[in-house]
């Protein structure tokens, strides 16, 4: 189902006209309302008059995460506080959090893009949504909440955690759609399997985001929970969840490009890459009032495709995130992404997707260890076949990543589960 056909299936030339107009308005807004953006633009010798179409984007300065931190808390707002009706903040694991302010119109936009997301997954007013994202400063809970309400669905604001209660309400209320992080979805799937209550559930789909996950992990969630799993992409800096969403074709996420204008740049040269090439995803918000961002570098690596999707939507699609420069580890001089390890483990089908990477330094050499949980159904009583499993995982990691990792098989559930963002890496090197 398509929630907003006129926007989601807009002709490309009409979309471009709309984007041109909205970009001009946004640049005017930030130039006149934000000291930060005005001085950045003046430093580069650019004024709003230089921006006529989206081709002029390249003339504008980039914004990066540290800019948002430096301007903590409200320095990037382009609306007076009297117009800000909601504040959210990122978890801020290092230093100050990133704060986002929304006007009433921004909240309306957010609900709209989330309603598009849920409709694209086949949901409607007849669905019962269990929102198991954390509520609070984190954008996941409230973002999904208001989107599902706009859709007209029945919303259960249960928030994250308390697995037993999640399963109980899921059973008693007959939840049909689940919203949470993919790692928590897997955790729930295991608990449901253990309790043997899958047959009592009416669950048929889920919308998972807020952390990177692979296609293999999607299949595992789909098989274990017997549902269709949809990806949601979003960032607090842009709006929260709902920047891009899967449709039922699941062949790339549709970007709500009438609100969020994407670019792909080469992270080294900062120049736009050729169409279809992989690079860093950059967003400019073109309708936001509270905290518009200009050319925000997401640090996420992906590629874009502008072909019309089989679902009928014309909007540009982004590939699943292929890595994140923040997550990137440099081990023995080689770039390693945790998502590479995850895809290796899942292609085995013999080792659970629960894993943890340990990096340390011994005798001036980096050590690289991957702890992998052994699945009960694949445990063999034969030591040599277990050792062989370990050896095969090591060989596969070597061929995908390019360096040797020492794999350690560990007991199920010995790796900590998280209800928020999964922590996959412990880097004990003291390099700085």
């Amino acid at each position: 189902m398509i929630w907003n056909e006129s926007s989601e299936c807009m002709r490309p030339d009409e979309m471009r006209d709309l984007q041109n107009k909205r970009l001009r308005t946004t640049v005017e807004r930030v130039y006149h309302n934000s000291t930060f953006y005005r001085s950045r633009m003046q430093e580069m010798g650019v004024s709003p008059m230089d921006i006529e179409t989206i081709d002029d984007l390249v003339k504008l300065p980039f914004t990066v995460k540290t800019d948002l931190r430096d301007q903590y808390p409200f320095g990037l707002f382009s609306a007076p506080m009297s117009e800000i009706v909601r504040l959210h903040a990122s978890s801020g694991t290092t230093g100050k959090p990133i704060v986002a302010g929304y006007t009433r119109k921004d909240l309306g936009t957010w609900s709209e893009v989330m309603a598009r997301t849920f409709a694209a997954g086949g949901c409607s007013r007849n669905d019962i949504f269990q929102i198991a994202y954390g509520y609070g400063l984190f954008t996941g809970g409230l973002g999904a909440h208001y989107g599902a309400e706009m859709l007209g669905a029945s919303v259960i604001p249960i928030s994250a955690g308390n697995t037993e209660k999640q399963i109980q309400l899921m059973t008693d209320f007959g939840s049909t759609a689940l919203c949470c992080t993919p790692s928590y979805a897997l955790y729930l799937a295991e608990a449901i399997q253990e309790m043997g209550v899958r047959d009592k559930l009416k669950l048929r789909c889920g919308f998972f985001g807020a952390e990177p996950w692979t296609e293999e992990m999607r299949r595992e969630i789909e098989n274990k929970l017997k549902i269709k799993a949809f990806d949601i992409f979003g960032l607090t800096e842009i709006i929260g969840p709902g920047v891009a969403y899967d449709c039922e074709a699941q062949s790339g996420m549709h970007i709500n490009e009438d609100h969020f204008l994407p670019e792909i740049i080469n992270p080294q040269t900062l120049q736009p890459v050729a169409p279809g090439e992989i690079g860093e995803l950059v967003f400019t918000t073109i309708t936001k009032e509270g905290m518009p961002v200009i050319r925000y570098r997401t640090k996420d690596l992906t590629s874009l495709t502008y072909e019309t999707c089989s679902c009928g939507r014309t909007s540009v699609r982004m590939h699943k995130i292929m890595g994140r420069s923040d997550d990137m580890l440099i081990i023995r001089g080689v770039n390693v992404f945790p998502s590479q390890i995850e895809s290796v483990l899942l292609e085995f089908g013999e080792a659970a997707p629960h894993y943890h990477i340990f990096v340390d330094r011994a005798n001036n050499t980096d050590t690289f260890e991957v702890h992998v949980e052994v699945r009960p159904e694949n445990f063999s009583d034969d030591l040599s076949s277990m050792l062989n499993l370990r050896k095969r995982i090591e060989a596969r990691i070597q061929s995908v990543v390019g360096i040797h990792a020492q794999v350690k098989l560990v007991e199920p559930r010995s790796i900590e589960r998280s209800t928020g963002k999964a922590k996959r890496v412990t880097d004990n090197r003291k390099l700085y």
Partner: protein, 142 residues
């Protein structure tokens, strides 16, 4: 003549073996024999016990990875040369042994637990040579 053996995946961490034995002890399950196969960071505990299915259920509940496998138990007199006789029978029958472990009992006989690549063939070969196999009921019931 098939005996069910329980195997448990254990990380080489202090206290894991204690936990296993506590779970079984509290449930009143008696261990008849066990052996450990270990690598540098994990091990497999193989155990013959009074109620393998109950033990499997209990340990799985506690989050352990366990599996049941079929083994054969041979009773041989505790005297020189008797084991090699039995092993000769197996190799002549083309049965290969994945692993084995032995323990002695009060009645002066030695018991040898054998995990073969082909359990039924192993039983047939040993029985046709009139070697003495232990029944499951005898094994669990000490």
């Amino acid at each position: 003549m098939i005996i069910q053996q329980l195997s448990i995946f254990l990380e080489n961490k202090t206290g894991r073996l204690t936990e296993v034995t506590q779970v079984l002890g509290q449930a009143g399950i008696n261990l008849s024999a066990f052996s450990m196969a270990e690598s540098s960071d994990f091990g497999i505990m193989r155990v013959i016990l009074s109620d393998p299915e109950k033990a499997q259920h209990l340990l799985t509940e506690k989050g352990f990875t366990v599996t049941l496998s079929d083994v054969v138990c041979l009773r041989v007199p505790n005297t020189p040369g008797t084991l090699s006789q039995a092993l000769l029978v197996l190799s002549e029958a083309g049965v290969s042994i994945e692993y084995m472990y032995a323990f002695a009992r009060k009645d002066d006989a030695a018991l040898v637990v054998i995990r073969a690549n082909d359990t039924q063939r192993c039983i047939d070969a040993l029985q046709s040579s009139n070697l003495n196999l232990v029944k499951a009921s005898e094994m669990y019931d000490f």
